[in-house]
Structure formats: C-alpha cells, structure tokens
C-alpha cells in the first residue's frame, strides 16, 4: 500500500517535471485596444496593444514555448501575425488562412515553440488595423552567444503614421490614385526642365510619360504621414541614452504601412550585424534603406559625449522620422538637413531599358569577389572619388539607370542587398527542385495590384510540396518597389553568394528588376505570401500558399520509416 503510494507519488513528480520541462512555457498577455495616437501635430484614434501604439516589445527566449494570450477588446475581429517567426501555421495569425481570427471579446492563446533568435515584430493581419497602429516589436534572446558584442540595445521601430484611417486611404486611392501624391511635376518643373534641357527634349520626355499615363514621381503612394520612431514624432524626439564609447545595438524595424526609409546617423558608422533576424557577416555602412516589414540590426559606437541624430528619410523624400541617441535625457540631437530633391523614376524603372533587365546574372557578378564587399575597409573609402565609385559599383538590385538607386548623404557606403552574407548558413546548399515565376503586376490608374495579373480574390493558391526547395523568380513589372513577404518559411535571397546567401523573411524587388529567392519548404500547412505595402496587399497582391504533405509523408516517400 505504502509502496504503491510512493510509486504513484514518484510518477506524479516525474510527470510534473516532464510537463514543465517539455513545455518550458513562458506566458505573455496582450490586449488589443482602441487607443489615442498623439504625434504632437495630430491626435487620432487607432488600435494598439496593452493600451498603446506601438505595442510593447515582447522579449522571448529561444527554446521556450511562448504562450501568448491575446484578448480582443475591439468591437471588430482582430488577429496577430508574428512577422518572421517560424511556427505551426495555426499560430501564424492570418484570418481565413491560419485561423478564423479573434472575435470581439474573445481571447485566443497562441503557442509558439520559439526556435530562432533575433529582431522581429508583430502586427494585426485584419483589415487596416496595422496601418491604424496595431504593431509591436519582438526580441528573441538567443540560446548561444551572438557573434558580436554590445553594451546596450534599443528597438527602433519606424512607422508612417497617417492622419487618415487605412480604410479611408484605400478608398481615396481607388477614387484617385494620385490622391496623396503632392510631389507631382508642375509647370515650374516644366519651365526649369526647358531651361536645362531645351523645349523639344522636355516636351518629348513629358510626352513619353504621358503616353504611358505614368508618373515619374510615383514613388510614394501615400504621402502626408508623420514618421515615427517608437511611436514618437520628430517633434517628440525619441531618445536612446548611451555613455560614450559604449557599443549600442539598434534593432531597426520598419513597421510602416507604405514607406521605405533611408536611415543614417550622421557622425556614426553603422555595422550591420543582422538582417530580418538572421546574423549576417558584419558590413560597415553610412546609410541603409529599410523596406517595409524588414528589420536590420546595427551596432554603433558613439565616442563623443554628444547627441547623435537618427535620421530616417522616406525613399520619396516626402516625410521623415527622427530621434536622438543622447548621453543624457532631454538633450536633443541637431536634425540634419533633409534632402528635398525627391527622386524621379526613369525609363529604366519602367523596365524600358532592356540591357540591364531580368536576365541579369547575379551569380556571375559577385561570385568572384566573395569577401571584397563585406570585408571592404571603408574607412579608406572616404577619400575616394565617389562619383567614380558610384559608377563602377551601382547597386545590382536596382535597374541600371534607376532613379531610385540610393546614395549615402555623406557620399559614403550605402548598404546593398549584395552586401548581405549569412554569418552561418541556415540550410545546406542544394539546387532548387523547381522555379516558380511571380510577376508583380498592377495598374496604377485603377489602383489594382496583382501577381501574374491576377488579384488574390481570383487566384488559385500556390501549391508547394513539403521537402522541396523552390526557387521564386520575382519579376517586377510595375513602377513601384514591392517588399514580398512569405509567411512561415525562410526566403533565401539570391545574391550570388551560394551558401552564404542571406536568409530573410521579406524580399524587396525594385521596379524593372528580377530577383530570385529560394525556400526550403519545411513547414506544412497553409500560409500567406504577399506584398507588405498595406494597400497593395489589400488590393490583391497576395497569394495563399499551400504546403502539401508533411514530415511523415516526406519520410515515407524517402523510404524512411
């Protein structure tokens, strides 16, 4: 009797240990609330988490099971997508694809086995809640030591906060696609072009664009926003404190609805150590462009005891975000002069210049100089004639002659996708089993966006097989850049570096360009795959991906039991 009791007690204890150790669960709570967003200039009602927008930074640990209880306090359905996290598809948070969504008043419990580390973010995948404020950041602490050191860290979340609600913005764009474009060319521009290039040339140039019914100024669909850093407008000046000589890790996240930002910290060199949560071989840059939904971790080491500006100008130069790194509270950095010369698209961006188009071979381009770019000592470069440098090293991820090719404000190094190399390959290298072409298509005048000319509502899902490695060929046939985000599985960006190709969750494809990425299809279920520009996604540049089969089926097919 006694023995029996002892035995069962022992089993009980063992079971309890087993449960707690396998679960290793960490609990987090998020409420989804209507909040007031105050940028100083405007107060709007939006959506946030735990009572504020942006929501909190979730600090998860690699190896734990994150149990996240999400309570919907809205009077509409909601959802949370964990952007970049590898997880069971039912936990991915896309209504109609992963799960039914979270009804008003309901609590949904996400269970995420955390198997990665790095900087990520979360946002609503319902309606326009994300542009309206429903976003937050995620830091996942790694199990192992990271290959770089830092003394302190900050999350730097960029956002294009607009006075109009997302639903209204899309309706306005459908009524009038240039509703928010206040950078169009005017009579004044015509006159100055005439005086520069002559009447005939100017007229024929205007005629070329007019016959296509496209605008070279069509870079930012939605202007009129205030750029926010961690929820703070330039005026409200988000400030991160540091002590001189400390190494500060900045985890940049672009949580914008529509806006790419060019980020720089004048006076500081930035060492890029992570892209989309994955470690990359360190690259020293003066400036980088962050597409919507991407993340970049950089390390800076301010040596002087003075404030430094974090300046993030939008790609089309219609807006900016600003904050300070400061040795003490209340000390605001001096804002660098904004570059007001808005870029103009060129015929190369229209895909008109076929010499440098799709067929371009990235691999041959950079396979020879494996380390020459990342390892380049760029302190020596300051003295170089950079007009020459720009000529010889145009970013291969922009069409040759593109009006969008970025240049660093100080004439120094601007990060390119070509610079990104994985620190440690996540997957062994192997040839792709097949290629899927995705033409990014749209009609700006109708504000319809699609893939292969078909909108989401009319499209068949993309079917992948578990265990295959698929190569996506993105052909951008539109005049805008598109950040394509595949849920649930990594996108290995083809930069021509073989097994060192960086692993990302969001791949930007510039106008007139063809870009390849490969995906090891290692997660069963169904997933979303879309352009992360909110209004492109809502207008149809979206696909459902179905992964057929699973570990068991794949094992059987391979003759393994």
């Amino acid at each position: 009797m006694k023995q029996k009791f002892a035995r069962s007690a022992l089993w009980g204890v063992l079971a309890a240990i087993a449960v707690s150790s396998t679960a290793n669960a960490a609990n987090y709570d998020l409420s989804v609330d209507y909040v007031t967003i105050d940028t100083g200039e405007m107060k709007t009602t939006g959506i946030g988490y735990n009572g504020s927008s942006p929501g909190p930074t979730l600090r998860l640990k690699e190896g734990e099971e994150a149990v996240i209880k999400v309570t919907n306090n809205l009077d509409e359905a909601t959802s949370i997508h964990w952007h970049g996290l590898i997880l069971p598809y039912q936990m991915d948070g896309v209504p109609e694809i992963s799960f039914p969504g979270i009804a008003p008043g309901e609590t949904f419990t996400y269970r995420i086995p955390v198997s990665q580390s790095g900087t990520y973010w979360f946002h609503s995948h319902s309606g326009f809640q994300e542009p309206d404020g429903a976003y937050g950041s995620i830091i996942i602490e790694p199990k192992k030591r990271e290959p770089f050191k830092f003394d302190r860290e900050y999350v730097v979340v960029l956002k294009d906060k607009h006075p109009h609600s997302g639903a209204r913005i899309l309706r306005n764009l459908k009524m009038m696609p240039d509703y928010y474009n206040r950078n169009q060319r005017t009579l004044g521009d015509f006159i100055s072009d005439v005086s520069e290039n002559g009447f005939g040339a100017t007229l024929s140039e205007r005629g070329d664009w007019g016959s296509m019914r496209m605008m070279p100024t069509d870079i930012e669909d939605v202007q009129g926003f205030v750029g926010l850093i961690n929820g703070k407008s330039p005026e409200q000046n988000w400030t991160g404190l540091f002590k001189a000589n400390e190494r500060v890790r900045l985890r940049f996240i672009n949580a914008s609805a529509m806006t790419y930002f060019d980020v720089r910290i004048p006076g500081l060199e930035m060492t890029v150590v992570q892209a989309d949560g994955n470690n990359v071989q360190p690259v020293k840059v003066d400036e980088f462009r962050i597409s919507v939904a991407e993340t970049y971790d950089v390390i800076v080491q301010p040596t002087a005891d003075k404030p430094y500006a974090i300046m993030a100008e939008s790609m089309g130069r219609s807006g900016y975000a600003f904050g300070s790194l400061s040795p003490q509270e209340g000390l605001k950095a001096e804002m660098p002069a904004r570059r007001m010369d808005a870029p103009l698209l060129t015929m190369a961006d229209m895909g008109m210049d076929h010499g440098n188009m799709p067929g371009m071979d990235h691999s041959s381009m950079s396979s020879g100089n494996e380390n020459s770019m990342a390892g380049m000592d760029h302190s020596n470069m300051a003295g170089m004639d950079h007009s020459q440098m720009a000529m010889s090293k145009d970013d291969p991820f922009y069409a040759a002659g593109s009006g969008l090719t970025p240049k660093a404000a100080n004439g120094g190094k601007f990060l390119s996708y070509a610079d990104l190399k994985a620190q440690k390959p996540l997957y062994p290298e192997r040839p792709a089993t097949r290629e899927i072409e995705l033409r990014l298509t749209g009609n700006m005048e109708r504000y319809t966006w699609s893939i292969n000319g078909v909108k989401y509502e009319d499209a068949e899902p993309i079917r992948l097989k578990y265990g295959e490695r698929v190569r996506f060929k993105f052909v951008n046939e539109t005049m805008m850049s598109h950040p394509m985000h595949l849920h649930g599985m990594w996108s290995i960006l083809d930069t021509g570096n073989g097994k060192w190709d960086p692993v990302k969750h969001t791949i930007n494809i510039n106008p007139g360009m063809t870009v390849y990425s490969e995906t090891e299809v290692d997660e069963p279920g169904q997933w979303a795959f879309h352009c992360h520009l909110s209004y492109h996604m809502a207008s149809g540049m979206f696909r459902k991906v179905i992964v057929e089969g699973g570990p068991a089926v794949a094992a059987l097919e391979n003759g393994v039991q």
């Binding site: 309706r171 060319r185 009579l187 005629g207 016959s211 109708r446 909108k455």
Partner: protein, 240 residues
C-alpha cells in the same frame, strides 16, 4: 409630378449607394465615392445668374460599378431649370485605362422631359486627358452624342488650372426640346482651383463659355433666346 419623379430618382440613387456602403463595411472590395467637378455660381455678361453643378458618385468593385452622373443649370433669375439631367450607368473596365458604361438618363428641365438609353466610355487618354464619351437614344428615337474632355494642369501641386470642353451633337432633330441635327452645343471652361482640404474641398474661380450651334442655335434665335453666353464662375470642387 416632376418633383415626385425627382424625389423618387434621388431617393433611389441614395438608397442604392447607402445599401452598397453598408455591404462595403463587410466586404472591403466594395468602394464608393462622390465627386462634384463643378458646383458653382455663374454670373453672365447679360445679368444672368445661374447655379450649375456637374458631378458623379459611384459604388462598386474594380470590375463593376454603379455610377450616377448628374448635371444641371438652375436659372436663379427666372427660377427655372434650364437643364436637369441624371444618369445611372453600370460600368466595367474594357482596357487598362478605359471603362465601358451603359444605363439610362432622365432629363427633367423646366420645359420638356426626356428619357434616354445610353452607352459610353470613360477613362484616361494618353497625355492625361480625362475623357467621357457617350451616345444617347431618347424615348422619341432621336440619337445624340456627347464628348467631355478635361485636363488638370498643375501650376503647383495644389494650384490647378483645369481647361474643359463639352461638345454635343444630335443625329436627328427633336424640335420639342429645341435640338437640331448636327453639332448642337458646346461649352468650354477654364477653372483655377486650390486644394484647400486634401483633395476633398477645392474652391475655384474661372470662366465658362456656352454656345448653341447650327440648327439648335437657330431655334434659340427664332425663340428670341440667347444662343451664347459667357460667365464668370466661382465654386467648389468636391471629392468625398
């Protein structure tokens, strides 16, 4: 009786738009919009005062829209409608930049009413000309056509100079409404607007010149009416 008809049409349009807007809440693929290109007071060179509007509203998807197009001229001095026109059309894309549309039109000026069936196209022509071209067949079997062309010239990104042209032609004479065969009337306008609140409210000033042509002009002359008029206009361009 006329007021009743008008109320019925107005109510019908409103009800349709509202019902679509309510469904729009559930389905984010349905959009709507209301626009007044002209909403203006006209003072003529011979002491005429008119209130004039030209607008449209739509509700629907990328593929199919229901559109109301309306225009009218109210003679403020004589208290009558020189023109009062409402159209209800269904519209669908036929090319990258053009839609085809078909529907009905009802004219209820103070003189004689007319029903029409209509087909047309509207869209954006090369070099940014906004074009609306329509054919009409009236209840009396008379055919007519109309071309509307507009161009927005950006002096700055908010100060916009808009030349416009409307040209009407009839394929047969309809004496009752005083339209003769051939080109029947033309109106050209030039308006300078300023986008005051987004694109929603843009006050403007401008000039408009209206002229009856050919036989139609002769009919007007026979009746001792003016066949041409020049106006100074002040108004608002609205977009919601």
């Amino acid at each position: 009786m006329k007021t009743l008809t008008l109320a019925a049409i107005g109510g019908g349009v409103l009800a349709t738009i509202l019902s679509f807007s309510f469904t729009a809440k559930a389905d984010n693929h349905i959009f709507y919009g209301i626009q007044m290109e002209q909403f203006e007071y006209r003072s003529g060179d011979e002491d005429e005062n008119l209130f004039v509007w030209d607008g449209d509203a739509f509700v629907g998807t990328d593929e199919l829209k229901l559109r109301w197009q309306g225009e009218g001229e109210r003679d403020l001095k004589n208290d009558l409608y020189e023109n009062f026109e409402n159209r209800l059309v269904l519209q669908t894309p036929i090319s990258d930049f053009f839609d085809a549309k078909a529907g009905i039109r009802l004219d209820t000026p103070s003189t004689t009413d007319r029903w029409y069936g209509t087909v047309g196209i509207m869209g954006l022509a090369p070099q940014w000309f906004e074009v609306d071209a329509d054919l009409f067949v009236s209840e009396t079997g008379d055919g007519s056509a109309r071309l509307d062309v507009e161009y927005e010239g950006l002096l700055t990104n908010r100060l916009i100079l808009t030349p416009s042209l409307e040209l009407n032609a009839a394929f047969s004479e309809d004496r009752e409404i005083e339209v003769g065969r051939g080109f029947s009337s033309a109106e050209i306008g030039l308006r300078l607007s300023y986008d005051l609140i987004d694109r929603a409210v843009a006050p403007y000033i401008g000039v408009a010149y209206e002229r009856k042509l050919g036989k139609t002009a002769d009919f007007a002359k026979d009746d001792g009416e003016d066949y041409e008029a020049t106006y100074l206009v002040t108004g608002l361009r609205l977009l919601f």
